[in-house]
């Protein structure tokens, strides 16, 4: 059964330009994204900065209000909830942020940080809360004596563990992790990734794992969605995506990763240019400005999403001619 279903999610930000906001523009951050995540599954979302992956993650949780589209969690339409119902639904979906230095309140102790969500979701007794907080700390591999310390006393890896403990406090079903290991050292990154795997096993969690690092995503995820300029351009099972990448962008992404073996320096397919501005996305296929296999039709028509045995891609190369 699908735990999370996202249908045609759109998020546009109006931005003001020029003196005193005269002249309006729109940032087309997310343009009609649809996917679903099964219970216990990990979906990886990869893409470059400006591809809208973070905005997508936040709109799913309604941390920012989506412009349109539907998000269903266990069949309940989260996008139509408000007030008390929304507050209660939020318990089931939590977020882990990229920067463990910015996402913990420096004035609160670790104990306060972990107890805050418990307090708002009905754990009345102080002793119960403390007990739960200490248990969470142990679960993420920290000492429960850290309860009274402040975030500044910890290293990046330890802070990220606190961030994970906070997300787990309410026993959520879905966790959206936005670049949770990109700010960490390689050796620490491995520790935190292992923690993600362990927690998924013990708690049967469902992850949406957002990252720009394909090797991290490949290690952790069952399925991968590749985003470009606010759209999912390709989505497939992890192994399938790496073995048979269809979309030229996915192919370039995979070949751009440096291989950790000097004996295997390979000729890379290097993409020219930058990701286009989100305020004026190109007509037709969003990738056509950088695509090495661009055809005439790519500049005019937006490619449709094709699905073949679970492998989705939107590219004219595979459409009907």
């Amino acid at each position: 059964m699908n735990l999370l279903e996202v249908e045609n999610l759109v998020k546009h930000f109006p931005v003001a330009k020029g003196w005193f906001g005269r002249g309006k523009q729109t940032v087309y951050a997310v343009n009609g994204v649809s996917f679903s995540v099964a219970k216990g599954e990990t979906l990886g979302v990869v893409g470059e900065s400006g591809s809208g992956k973070s905005t997508m993650g936040r709109s799913v949780l309604r941390l920012i209000e989506p412009t349109s589209g539907r998000v269903r969690l266990e069949g309940v339409d989260v996008t139509s909830l408000n007030g008390e119902n929304l507050r209660k639904a939020r318990k089931h979906m939590q977020m882990i942020f990229q920067d463990p230095y910015a996402s913990l309140n420096p004035r609160l102790t670790i104990g306060n940080i972990l107890e805050e969500p418990l307090k708002y979701h009905g754990v009345e007794k102080k002793n119960d809360r403390r007990e739960q907080a200490e248990r969470l700390l142990r679960e993420v591999g920290l000492d429960d004596s850290y309860y009274d310390r402040f975030p500044f006393q910890f290293s990046g890896g330890q802070r990220q563990r606190v961030g994970i403990a906070r997300a787990l406090a309410l026993n959520p079903k879905l966790i959206i992790a936005d670049e949770p290991v990109s700010a960490l050292d390689v050796s620490i990154q491995a520790q935190v990734l292992n923690l993600f795997v362990k927690l998924q096993e013990t708690r049967n969690l469902t992850y949406v794992f957002i990252s720009h690092d394909l090797s991290v995503v490949k290690h952790l995820c069952n399925r991968i969605a590749v985003m470009y300029l606010g759209e999912i351009v390709e989505m497939a099972e992890c192994e399938e995506l790496f073995r048979h990448p269809l979309h030229p962008y996915t192919q370039a992404l995979i070949r751009a990763i440096p291989v950790v073996d000097p004996a295997q320096r390979r000729q890379r397919l290097i993409l020219t240019g930058d990701i286009p501005s989100q305020t004026s996305p190109p007509a037709g296929c969003p990738f056509h400005t950088r695509c090495p296999q661009c055809m005439d039709i790519c500049k005019k028509e937006h490619p449709a999403l094709l699905t073949q045995s679970g492998h989705q891609t939107s590219c004219h190369l595979y459409g009907k001619h």
């Binding site: 390689v186 990154q189 991290v216 751009a256 291989v259 950790v260 000097p262 004996a263 993409l271």
Partner: protein
């Protein structure tokens, strides 16, 4: 901290801890008086630490130049790209303003900027991250330096842009014959770019060797741990082999012990009491670890 790096022509690199400080020391870019500096930095036979500030100015940006991690922070936001580029050409070369401009345009073209005339008059905020890093490289190469120090040049960039910049650095290296000291934490970038590698941990060199040797046959437990903790594209295991613990903060550095010992699986009592000396495994491959060398460094 004790670092000994010999840079022959051409191109090598570092990875680990205390690496940026080493590079800043070479350029003498520290806040005066904040650091206790000892030892020698020999560049083409000259000890850079004994030079006066005036003499150093002739070397910085001229014979040795540097590119930084965050190109937005290292370009001046209130001057156009052109003004910043011609400034450093005029400082080091006896040329007219017009010639300086021509040179700058040529450099911008060399780093594969499509429209140098346009970029020349733009401000840094108008450019993307990849473009800014290209401009940084163009500036660094403007006076044809013998040594280019690149401190995490692609860390702030996306993979596809990273590939472009690494490719550019490789091309320039071939064209100009400059040496590159590349500082990075990304072992993939090291494997792609470098001939020789120095691995640092907590302010000390722990292992060095040719890239081929080091990746095929790492000897120091830290190097081994780093390579094993990477998620790989080929092969799939459920749990990664992580290195337990954290890198110590500089104020907690030990002087009479191996600094990696608290995180090392193979640590013995000796490792906590003395600092391991160098074991030269081949002409190029050396390691500082008691597993390979029982002789401690005499304090």
């Amino acid at each position: 901290m004790m670092i000994r790096i010999a840079l022959h022509n051409p191109h090598q690199l570092i990875s680990g801890c205390g690496k940026s400080i080493t590079a800043l020391s070479i350029m003498n870019l520290h806040t005066p008086g904040r650091f206790i500096m000892d030892g020698q930095i020999l560049f083409a036979g000259k000890n850079l630490l004994q030079l006066t500030e005036k003499e150093m100015i002739h070397i910085r940006g001229n014979q040795i130049s540097m590119i930084f991690q965050e190109p937005m922070v290292s370009l001046n936001p209130v001057y156009t790209i052109g003004m910043q580029m011609t400034e450093m050409i005029l400082l080091h070369q006896k040329v007219s303003k017009k010639q300086a401009k021509e040179q700058a345009l040529g450099q911008l073209k060399q780093v594969a900027i499509a429209d140098p005339q346009d970029i020349f008059y733009r401000y840094p905020y108008e450019l993307s991250g990849g473009m800014r890093q290209r401009v940084m490289i163009a500036m660094a190469m403007a006076n044809h330096p013998q040594l280019l120090i690149a401190d995490e040049p692609t860390t702030a960039l996306d993979v596809t842009i990273q590939a472009q910049i690494l490719d550019l650095m490789r091309t320039l290296r071939q064209q100009t014959g400059a040496s590159i000291l590349l500082i990075t934490h990304d072992l993939g970038v090291v494997a792609e770019m470098c001939d020789r590698v120095i691995v640092m941990y907590a302010g000390r060199i722990v292992e060095q060797g040719m890239a081929q040797e080091l990746f095929a046959d790492p000897k120091h437990p830290y190097t081994i741990g780093l390579l094993q903790s990477l998620p790989r594209l080929n092969g799939r295991k459920k749990y990664l082999d992580d290195i337990p613990g954290n890198v110590p903060a500089p104020q907690h550095y030990t002087h009479q012990a191996c600094r990696f010992a608290p995180r090392c699986r193979f640590a013995t009592a000796l490792c906590h009491k003395a600092q391991p000396g160098l074991r030269q495994l081949s002409d190029t491959h050396g390691v500082y670890c008691f597993l390979w060398n029982k002789e401690p460094i005499q304090a």
